[in-house]
């Protein structure tokens, strides 16, 4: 039987060993954080809670009571963290408004915890509910803070904007993404589906003058600052439009820098080196690692590998220390489209501390991860992250895959089995690579590891 203390310690350990989480905490403690950081803080906390709760839920001595306490801990922690960040931002702007904190959603949590003791469903359903439900409730702590304070500050005389940035999780989220002046946002701007990772923050630092007695005009004694128009308008494409746009964009490379006349080179593995070497590419890695040394090492590794293998189907790999950024090992693939590790390297991966190594390799055809990429990543607890950098600039990341494969089946592992199922579903309405990407999304959510396309 597991108790509150054991579950609490497991969650805290998960958080304290996460390099990205530690980086965010340092920024918060240093007074340099923004709501983008607190949103990420909430997301990482949600994942740690949901994963550990799902793993232990069936063994909890008091399933409803312990779950409620764990959720209350996270809710209050995220609220107080947001309040700290708000105070630091206000101090810099000379604003003196106390951050508002939302009450714990007792009724909602009760409904959720009650669903975990439902005797009519199988254990696998209880575990899935535990993961998805706790993830959503913990993330809502951040959304509730944002909503409460945006409303309060708007009423207090500050010009507020609600900003929702999509995470490519679905069409609906993409349709509501944008920057809205407070009062003009869609009614369901704060709505989330299960496993939604959209970022919702507000920008409310601009004083617009005290409301006059007529309730309409504002006092111009304070400096008037003009309204900032919303800059972000998401554009949605149909599949046909997207293909046509891709074709016309790639057209400018044909015949200009063709490698197909050179032995061993192929245009289909041609890298977009202008983009790869740009700051926009480096931004894909910003804030994702323990420190700038590691971040720079990962970016450099991607650039070096792609430059070395530009126009070929050969792969290379760097194994990088996740705390210092130092290169531990470097491999050149001897066959096309793959990397083979030496026994010495495998032994090192087996013996190294948990979450201490980052593996970076290239995908010449810019495809998402293969099932072998996942299976190998999931074998080693020392692998903090596995990265596949496509020659077109796409970057794919696995984290926390160790131990998530499940039982071995006749055709691989349970996780790979789920991937095959998801692929058959997603390929119907998507291209091959998009279907593979969505399939990893489905499997990572179901099995509790982190997957990201940047």
């Amino acid at each position: 039987m597991a108790d509150y203390k054991q579950l609490r310690e497991a969650i805290d350990k998960k958080l304290s060993t996460d390099p990205e989480f530690r980086t965010i905490v340092k920024r918060i403690n240093g007074g340099r954080a923004t709501f983008i950081d607190t949103e990420r803080y909430a997301q990482i906390t949600a994942r740690a809670v949901s994963r550990e709760l799902s793993a232990e839920v069936l063994d909890l001595s008091d399933r409803e009571g312990i779950t409620t306490q764990i959720l209350r801990d996270s809710y209050e922690d995220i609220n107080s963290t947001c309040a700290r960040v708000q105070r630091a931002m206000d101090e810099k702007a000379g604003i003196h408004i106390r951050p508002q904190q939302e009450d714990f959603p007792t009724e909602r949590v009760q409904q959720f915890t009650h669903s975990l003791v439902d005797p009519t469903v199988e254990d696998s359903v209880i575990k899935r509910r535990a993961r998805a439900g706790s993830d959503t409730i913990v993330k809502s702590a951040h959304d509730d803070f944002i909503r409460k304070n945006a409303t309060f500050r708007n009423d207090a005389g500050l010009t507020c904007y609600i900003i929702r940035e999509g995470s490519n999780c679905c069409e609906w989220c993409s349709s509501v993404a944008g920057k809205y002046k407070f009062g003009t946002q869609p009614d369901d701007i704060f709505r989330r589906h299960d496993n939604c990772d959209c970022t919702i923050i507000y920008d409310g630092q601009v004083l617009r003058g005290q409301l006059n007695l007529d309730g309409v005009t504002r006092n111009t004694t304070w400096q008037q600052i003009g309204d900032v128009p919303a800059e972000y308008e998401p554009t949605s494409f149909t599949q046909e439009q997207a293909k046509e746009l891709e074709r016309s964009n790639l057209q400018r490379f044909r015949g200009v820098n063709s490698l197909s006349s050179k032995p061993g080179k192929s245009d289909s593995a041609l890298a977009n080196m202008d983009f790869i070497n740009s700051s926009a590419y480096a931004d894909k890695f910003k804030g994702k690692y323990a420190n700038s040394d590691v971040e720079n090492a990962v970016v450099s590794a991607c650039r070096q590998i792609i430059k070395n293998r530009n126009g070929t189907f050969y792969e290379e790999a760097f194994f990088i220390d996740a705390n210092t950024g130092k290169t531990i090992s470097y491999i050149k693939g001897k066959q096309k489209n793959g990397i083979e590790m030496s026994d010495k390297l495998k032994k090192r991966l087996t013996k190294s501390p948990d979450n201490s190594i980052i593996m970076v390799h290239n995908h010449p055809n810019s495809s998402p991860f293969s099932t072998e990429d996942y299976s190998t990543s999931a074998k080693y607890s020392s692998l903090y992250e596995t990265i596949a950098c496509g020659h077109n600039g796409d970057v794919y990341s696995f984290r926390n895959t160790f131990g998530t494969q499940g039982a071995t089946t006749n055709f691989g592992s349970e996780a790979v089995r789920e991937y095959h199922i998801a692929y058959q579903k997603h390929k119907r309405d998507n291209t091959d690579f998009v279907a593979r990407h969505k399939s990893w999304d489905s499997v990572s959510e179901n099995r509790g590891f982190d997957y990201e396309k940047r």
Partner: protein, 46 residues
């Protein structure tokens, strides 16, 4: 029998993924695939 693969093997094609599915589950209809997806992931695709 599983063929030898590299540790990080990226030779997998769409045909390979389709064949792997058929080898394990047989040739299922779209409705049967939907049901299998629903039973596996507990939701419809988004």
């Amino acid at each position: 029998m599983k063929k030898d693969k590299m540790d990080f093997d990226d030779t997998e094609t769409a045909d390979d993924l389709n064949k792997a599915f058929v080898d394990e589950f047989g040739d299922l209809s779209d409705d049967e695939i939907d049901e299998l997806y629903q039973n596996t992931f507990g939701k419809t695709a988004q």
